[in-house]
Symmetry: C2
Subunit: 419 residues, 2 copies
Amino acid sequence: MTDVAAYMEGLGRMAREAAPAMARAATGAKNAALSATADLLLAHTAELQDANGKDVADARAAGLDDALIDRLVLTAERIAQMARGLREIAALPDPIGEITGLAARPSGIQVGRMRVPLGVIGIIYESRPNVTADAAGLCLKSGNAVILRGGSEALHSNAAIGRCLKEGLAAAGLPSGAVGLVETADRAAVTELLHMNRFVDLLVPRGGKGLVELVATEARMPVLKHLHGVCHVYLDDDADAAKAQAVAVNAKTQRYGVCNTMETLLVAESRADALLPPLARAYKEHGVELRGCAKTRDRIAWAHAATDQDWEAEYLAPILAIRVVAGLDEAIAHIARYGSHHTDAIVTENWTHAQRFLREVDSSSVMVNASTRFADGFEYGLGAEIGISTDKFHARGPVGLEGLTSQKFVVWGDGHIRR
Amino acid sequence: MTDVAAYMEGLGRMAREAAPAMARAATGAKNAALSATADLLLAHTAELQDANGKDVADARAAGLDDALIDRLVLTAERIAQMARGLREIAALPDPIGEITGLAARPSGIQVGRMRVPLGVIGIIYESRPNVTADAAGLCLKSGNAVILRGGSEALHSNAAIGRCLKEGLAAAGLPSGAVGLVETADRAAVTELLHMNRFVDLLVPRGGKGLVELVATEARMPVLKHLHGVCHVYLDDDADAAKAQAVAVNAKTQRYGVCNTMETLLVAESRADALLPPLARAYKEHGVELRGCAKTRDRIAWAHAATDQDWEAEYLAPILAIRVVAGLDEAIAHIARYGSHHTDAIVTENWTHAQRFLREVDSSSVMVNASTRFADGFEYGLGAEIGISTDKFHARGPVGLEGLTSQKFVVWGDGHIRR
């Protein structure tokens, strides 16, 4: 066994051993650990910034670009935000131990389901050090142990945050081994983590497409993954013009670089003359480049011609593809063919069209008369999210505490036997 | 591409194309397809038995053993049972389309979850041809398409049942491609199926350990798997003697060859003198061989000495391992170390001990004062089960229709935009 393999096995074993204590921990103890960590982050602001300063200096020396360095920097405000985030997680209801559906069966036994932690969660993420606190907070609150492998450029920052988490756990009488931090930049540590299915019950990759695809392909345990978001808004024959304008502008322009932003607008042909010109004016004001089908360009002279690649593109930028479709069937077919099963919305006043869209569009979030930008754990009331799943299995869409749990059956009897 | 690869790709594409029509199918149409199939199975009893006769003759010629041939034979009664099974599935509530938790958010949108099918389910199973009808029925009722790969020794029988399923679908106006039957004995077809993650959303292996391990290791999509059942009953310090006797005898002797049968009995030392001798008499009457720890053998002279392997054994036979433990903590620790996270029960009158056992034992079913033999989809009220999951992700324990579904978010607005 290599040194890295032995090191990772040690982290895995420590997390696995801490998991039962976390699973049975009282809500008060878990909340106390999160609050104590928040206090420690604030008390150690200067030390965190020192550690972060080393990472930033290394990153500058290595010639990393400004955007990446900006994500890396821990300002006092960002540290305070981490602390607030942990207190918000502490304030969320504890999902663990909840029993649902308990009901008597003809045999006389009562059967229900109890919500339980998954065990050990592995998180693999990139540059932002605040993920260390946010992700660990969600895993601990849901009764899990966690192994964190952050970006190598944030090694010192993450280690300093990790020390606060461990100290916070100890202060609450919980095992500090419930947080394991991978404190080596060696890429082999990631490979080990991906293969440690005897220690890790779920992996959550948070980062670019390359990272997510690597984890999805190589991991020997379930992966909660988010691949990409090619989100649509369809303006139906029966769309209200004001709602169409509001939703289609907001879904594209409220923020560009995020996965729930609309990338393709579909417009029913019967409404193209009425709806496209005012939309084009709004997009022009926002500096959005338009790429349209021939029928779109008939109505918007300055739009570029869209190619087949545009229907599949996740621009994450002020660019929008627009297609005029015959109606609902063609819109649903377009989304099925080119979409990414992330978030799609219809704008319509027609009850039957809305119902068909809700039922037939196979995406993790399906919306009527609302902006795709609402697809978010906070907006959905999940409290905070560990990620957004574009898979169907276990969890779809924004994933909060509940996605880090499972349910077991509980059976209550009085000496019942099976006949 | 080999012939088998092309053949399997054809099946995969057909199922994938049929999936949207199944997903939006009305409950009535799905039920009509199941009823029509039941009628067809009965109407074609003679043809099914002819096809089955070829399989049985081939199996005899190949020298397969009697137990296997018995599982293979389709009697008129077994065909009638398949038809009844399909009608029972038709009578179950349709999980698809159910919306739960719909509630307003501060932004004004309403957010809920809609239950939706997974898409295409692959089932890989061994000799019993009735699985073809049972598993297909559950997949279709839950709005999925299905690809079935049965045992090669049941090829003709499965093909005949498959024709009834396809005809039943067509009679109800649903796509017959929603049932794909692998009609080749070539093992390469299984390998293709395991790698077809672009067509298959979930694989369910049903069969021996070898099959399940092969599928779990090789599959490129999620697998709903059942590995093994090492189930425990713990007789606590505060166990009621009559309940202890009833549960411990039933959990072992009601049926031997099934996964929810008790394999190890744990007894609190304070009660060993009182509880073990009458239990030993009952087990002797049932012809159960006992293998005990030293303290067990002090109380049951005729018990064999247990080794460490006995604590891990899934006997599936009239053999029982017995260990005397200091109390609840040691019982929980024993189950954590040697158990298989399947089903474990405590017999106790003590509220706190019961609560701790329910919370701390990490098994798919945890029971108080009830026989482990109750761990079953029918007993739990799930209607029928596609299998029992010993994993934690997505589904634990007996898996019915709901385990073949997922939930997407639905968002209802009135032109709402994100600020």
